[in-house]
Symmetry: C3
Subunit: 668 residues, 3 copies
């Protein structure tokens, strides 16, 4: 675990894009803009090893020395994110291969098969050099291993990956009969007689074996993790005291099971790029922040990349409006970040990301962007007391990569069911109600939460079901939405009426799934007479003890249960057989939260205002973020000063401009 003494501020720093004269200007402008940390050298491999084994670190030494002299901490990259052209030329077999057999080319980045021993050997050799050379450098604060693992290469299907997959399977299953059982290979005559007959789920005449696909997701996450660990182990050995991180790709990336990665990191980092065109982009970002924080048990995390303004990789790329970058940065801090960094320091003149914004734009110092980032740098410097404080939540949403992979397999009742949309459909109403959430793994101890929400957790092993049973029996309030608890960890349906492992908890049985047609909807009527609209899904529910809270209206299921509640043990378990639209979900979750005793951070907040508490040993801080386009006034429950304006002036109400932020100091 890493403890910062301030909210670090800075950017990716790629000095090789510029001549050394520019480096001197960089140091000046970094100081001017409040930069305290850079993550340097991410793409410097070809620069420091221009040909195999021929190292040229001199220029990078200069950069490190200048940074040290400027008092800027370096989160030093291991430089392995993009192997130099000489490597893929010498070893074309390391180039990744798609499921259809297309071998990808060099000329971009991330052009390596994660299972490649060749790549790992070269990468390890470089990391040895870097660790030895810079392990004691005064600028060195942390290690940044690799970069955005799994961003472009979510899986490789080459023959080398196939061999690695076979090893992985042998470790997992031991013998081929266990594999056959786990994969239900009796279906479609797929029984394997020998490991050599097993392949990645490449393009096939029709749907490949789903358990094979599911295991390939697991394997691919582990293959990238193997790359990370190759480097992490070297660093741990050579520099045991230097903390290690790597940057996950946000909002959330499907490719990597973060839960299996974070135990190997000292601090968890996220890259976050909400779309400025999206008026609800901050809600998606909020979900990602709560999730990444929860993967490391609430420990402060690092926003390792965000855009100062526009990105370059969408079809259309909006800049951030005045104030939006500040607001988004403060949102990350509010939700537990102790560092705010950008991609990148200085906008590159050429290359694939030259139209990605940077702290120093093409236009230089005299630009709106540089002015805004400099102002934020000053602001963050003034609130170092926030560092190390924690966000606490009474509500947990369950999130599991294995279930995500399972949920989105093909040949399901409906392809409209996407995990991230499912999570956001449940998360957004809680966010709007000013209820702070954690987003945790389903096997985690849950008893500390007042409310647990389970959005379409398709894959569920029996331990998870037992965990949920214990939670409700012990008095917990549980909300489960449809298509949860359907299959085991091998994607085998539980028999005996859906969702078999949860039937007793929920007090019902599902006879059959009735997914809605494309863009279809179905009426829901609550017992109190209110109506809502269900989307995506319906199903034939047979209550077996559960109370019917809402019924379907219209169609074949008219009059049948749509939402139920079941008193179980000392708690209660709710079930949603459809996905209510946003209003319907808000009404329902408000009701459940109230019953569970969950209270908002601040009641009666104006629409669009987010409130989060960061809780320290001695003080708590209330951060208010106005995501709306209106000026609003928020009465404070306890008078407190706004640390961003006048820390000496205690306020009983705060006025927030559009995109405005306030940080209120409160005694705990």
């Amino acid at each position: 675990m890493v403890a910062f003494d301030r909210i670090h501020y800075g950017a990716d720093y790629n000095p090789e894009h510029w001549s050394s004269e520019v480096w001197d200007e960089d140091m000046k402008l970094m100081t001017e803009s409040g930069v305290t940390m850079v993550t340097a050298g991410i793409f410097s491999w070809a620069g420091v090893e221009p040909r195999p084994g021929d190292y040229d670190f001199g220029w990078f030494d200069t950069v490190m020395d200048k940074l040290a002299a400027s008092g800027i901490a370096v989160c030093l990259a291991t430089m392995t994110a993009s192997p130099p052209p000489w490597m893929t030329h010498l070893h074309p077999e390391i180039l990744p291969v798609r499921a259809d057999g297309t071998r990808l080319s060099s000329g971009a980045r991330q052009q390596f098969c994660p299972s490649s021993e060749v790549y790992r050997r070269y990468a390890g050799r470089l990391v040895e050099q870097i660790a030895a050379r810079y392990g004691d450098h005064p600028a060195l604060a942390m290690w940044h291993v690799g970069n955005e693992y799994g961003c472009h290469i979510r899986a490789c299907y080459c023959d080398n990956s196939a061999a690695d997959f076979r090893n992985w399977l042998q470790n997992r299953y031991g013998d081929i009969d266990a594999l056959n059982d786990a994969w239900t290979t009796t279906f479609w005559s797929q029984q394997y007689d020998d490991w050599v007959e097993v392949f990645p789920p490449r393009v096939a005449p029709t749907f490949p074996n789903p358990a094979q696909q599911l295991d390939y997701h697991r394997f691919s996450s582990d293959a990238s993790l193997g790359c990370f660990l190759t480097e992490q182990r070297i660093l741990r050995r050579v520099t045991p005291d230097v903390p290690i991180t790597t940057n996950f790709v946000g909002l959330v990336q499907k490719a990597l099971d973060w839960h299996k990665w974070t135990p190997h990191e000292d601090v968890v980092s996220l890259d976050s790029y909400p779309d400025p065109y999206d008026p609800r982009g901050h809600v998606e970002a909020a979900f990602g922040y709560d999730l990444v924080r929860s993967t490391k048990d609430g420990q402060p995390w690092m926003l390792l990349e965000q855009a100062p303004s526009a990105v370059n990789w969408r079809n259309r790329n909006s800049p951030k409006a005045p104030g939006a970058m500040r607001l988004g940065s403060w949102q990350a801090v509010a939700q537990g970040a102790d560092a705010v960094l950008f991609f990148q320091w200085r906008q590159t003149s050429g290359g694939a990301e030259k139209f990605h914004s940077a702290m120093v734009p093409h236009g230089g110092r005299e630009t709106r962007t540089f002015r805004e980032v400099s102002a934020l740098g000053q602001e963050l410097a003034a609130v170092s007391q926030l560092a190390g404080t924690r966000v606490r939540a009474d509500v947990a949403l369950l999130h599991d990569w294995e279930s995500w992979w399972g949920l989105e397999l093909d040949s399901h009742p409906s392809d409209d069911l996407r995990q991230l949309e499912a999570h956001l459909a449940h998360y957004a109403p809680l966010f709007d109600a000013s209820i702070t959430c954690d987003v945790v793994h389903p096997a985690r101890e849950l008893s500390a939460y007042k409310l647990v929400v389970v959005p379409n957790l398709y894959l569920m092993d029996t331990e998870v079901a037992a965990n949920l049973r214990r939670y409700v029996e012990g008095g917990g309030h549980l909300v489960v939405s449809f298509f949860s608890g359907i299959v085991d960890s091998c994607d085998r349906a539980y028999l005996g009426g859906y969702p078999a492992p949860l039937r007793d908890i929920l007090g019902l049985r599902i006879d059959e799934f009735w997914p809605l047609p494309e863009d279809g909807s179905i009426g829901l009527k609550f017992a109190d007479g209110t109506d809502a609209t269900g989307t995506i899904w319906s199903e034939w529910v047979e209550p077996e003890g559960a109370e019917v809270i809402a019924e379907f209206t219209g169609g074949e299921l008219a009059g049948k249960a749509a939402v139920t509640r079941h008193a179980f043990g000392a708690g209660a378990a709710w079930y949603l057989a459809s996905r209510p639209d946003a209003d319907g979900m808000r009404t329902l979750l408000d009701r459940v939260a109230a019953e569970a005793g969950v209270v908002p951070v601040l009641p009666g907040l104006p629409e669009g205002v987010q409130a989060v508490v960061r809780d320290g040993k001695e003080n708590t801080y209330l951060i208010l973020l106005n995501h709306s386009g209106e000026e609003v006034t928020v009465p404070l429950p306890v008078p407190a000063p706004d640390l961003l304006t006048d820390p000496g002036l205690v306020l009983d109400r705060v006025s927030l401009a559009p995109r405005g932020v306030a940080v209120l100091g409160r005694t705990s």
Copy 2:
């Protein structure tokens, strides 16, 4: 030809998915649900030959014995539908290749090139074993060769297929000059000097030679037929008295020319999966049933697969509403099926089709589906007298796979012209008018039909044109729609004014095609003042003897002929230069049918009610099917009992609930 003594009922049976304890329960539940036949072992190859030449039939013997003991007939699969992993590992060259060179992988099903001698050799060796072992087994009723040929692999483009294609071409054309002539290779400098220069129509810089594409459709159908015949010949030799079938893929599959297959089968079988979301799905199904019946001259056929409820392979999969499965099953029987089987008996826990419904769902015996399939089993058992009766039609639609392939080639006047839509546009109004149709090959003797409809029969050899000429001269009524008779069997346009081979029959000449823009329409005005809307197409018609029945309105063709009628010989030939919308087509075909003396099965039927007569040597049966959501009452022309309710009670009117069915016994 096969004569059943009952309407057989059952499902695909895949015992390898389950342990032997479950088999015993299967026997009990089969009896309970009225199962009389299963088609077993379709995907058992890896189970009975777990490694090359190492056979393990013991477990399958047990299954066969249990079935025999339960009195259940077995339509025994040759087990060759999905080669085991050991085969594709030992012989990766049998894996199919797409037109772009992508070699498909194992891990799904149908992973073999139809031209592969290796596959055929292994398959033949297995079939020898199976035929020898089970040829005299008391449970054996029929052979089920392969499975759904051409479903996923419609064509393979590998080098082995290329070699096989060359052989096929040499057989067809004899010498390379004949090939050059047939393919018009003078166009774009494509003259071949030697057979080795010929390839499948793989992805090319632009449109590949259309005659080459057309022949590749023919060849690919024949390549799959070759697989079928490899097995069929072994079975004929070893078990000459056991009937043979294979299951075609419905609605209709473009890949296989059924007309070339059915002479080699004793009974023809169809898999039928109308989409429950589609309110007109039963009309599409009806077309498929009339076609499949007609490919075997009206002989009873087998519905070899349908879903008890939902399938798993669409993007969204609706279950069948209560009653819908029964109604659809009876529809197949009404249209000539003597067997109704499902995929599959018991819903698999794992694998790619675990969310495909089955007679015994994941939820087991206590499910709506099991209740409904059991009720239907009892019902079918009570009407064994229907078996062997025939459906008779006065109207024929012409359907030809070669013309279908030709019609949908690229670089045509309009890509909007799709054969199946074309057929349904002509078939649906006749269906709605309660007129029974056959769907027959164009070269077939037609004189027995009162009306012949030719929906966009693009490719037409001169024999077919002569057949149509004879038919009309002899007094027949003919309806031809646009873009018919355009090319010969080598996709060469007939010269001298379209449609050259039919111009004298139709009494007109087409100067030029005027396809409509995307989603465009054109007005049609009939001589009696009524209007209709044309879709997809218009053209510049010069009548040369034909009477103008309707004109185009608006646009460049305003005032020109759109629909014509030509008295020719003792008959009359109608021509449609556009495709009227549904109402216009109904009005027009009603008029033509009346003139031709075609009468509905029952006049004045309520909307949505289908009526079909099955005609036996001694009795005829009138089957009424209510596809609507309303209860209706149908007066009967001749009082008769409903065999499904009280065979002793003679009715003069029948009441049909929504999705209701009645089977009325009538003396011939």
Copy 3:
């Protein structure tokens, strides 16, 4: 340079499609329809060289002799457009490869890698034969080299192309450091240590290096040019006096940089296929005609291919309405063409283009098409005095293939910015205002133009910026639209505020781009109170001397400059920070044109009427084209006779039927 003594008329002639009896009928029908020139033998390679080195020219001799005897000039193809099957069979390595590695097949056309030395060697050997055999043939008028280079194969990515690309790069950059600099390979660790490490921009994990992509466009155009030059050099040597052309693909083809090709041609030729469904298709065609004429400094050009009626390669293919083919042909002549040819003479019975119209349709002589093309042949024969006259323009639009390639690279602020749409958005209002334009290269001397329009010229080297500066300083009127002058010829952004090389001329600085969301728009308000709507783009403009002509309304940029005008030197420079919709652009360009002293050909023309002047040494001719569906009357500024009706009758007004044409003779 070639000087015709008439407006040539004819078609592609492919005699190998037909037997020799048909050739005799061809000669009669050519004479009947006024054909004076055919371009023959384009796809005759397999016919004249049926196997390697085995030539059979006898049949082609016969054709040439017949044409000579009929007095028909031959633009003789070098026959290399489609290599025979024997070649790709012997040398499969010449087949082109896509960026994803798919090797394309034979069976269509253009199946050769432009960098293939094997192909070039075979092609050269054939051209030697043809030049020697027909160089003195009385029918020979011109050489037609290849055919539609770059139409289907815009780039090849095979290993042979990779090697050729490396050579091309070495020629361009000399040493690897220069390449690294030009490509900004420091970005994403792409520094090359050796040329062998460089590859084409094949499919990669994410965006390939943009400078590499840009150079691959340049290289690919040059590779096709290399094929052309291989043949051109042989022809120049063997037949130095025979003029040479090749046919570009219109409207405009992105693949080839015509400016680098036309110096090697004696006359420039275009294939033009506007879509008859498109009511504004003639405006797009007009742009292509003005561009192709300008690439050869206004010298008369040849319309080498157009369709007599429908084409076959769109998804839906409309014929040309009566009169439309004549109107479109006259439009080409009006805009400077001295030849009007069709693809093709006689509609092929088989092959991929059998539904492409021809002068002699499938229906033969008794067809609307043959009647209309024959009438046009007579008409053109009567105006031979038009040949050699010139079109003159006061307005230039700048067009540059390198900037086009750059503009449409990936990872830009918006993918909605497409070069051709950009050009048409600026060209169409000028066309509608009856203002004649040239479309010229940006480095060309501009002082003769009263107005220069620069539509989104993204890539601009410093010489071009200097050229524009000189032009405005010298009194020119310049209109520049957004995202111009952004990068240098290596796709490196100019630093120091966009658009750095033009900031002084325009008197402004762009702080940041604000592209609009999909289908978005933004309000514009002009100083005079009128409103318009901006599309695609907006941006944050900081005027630095420029006058604000219009402001944005609404959104973050409300009140900021949207259109500006800057007096600079003796001229004025306008800037558009968005793309006004059609009406707004028309209003704006009308104002600028008026200020620049640009006048329409004829003022106050009815909507849809195009007027162009062809200017000869002694006479000028005013050609009026009615693209509207209404009859119109046009008063003439100077009384003149209509050469198409009665050359002896001087008119002071001309009446034009829908799709009508008039050619008015005027004394210069």
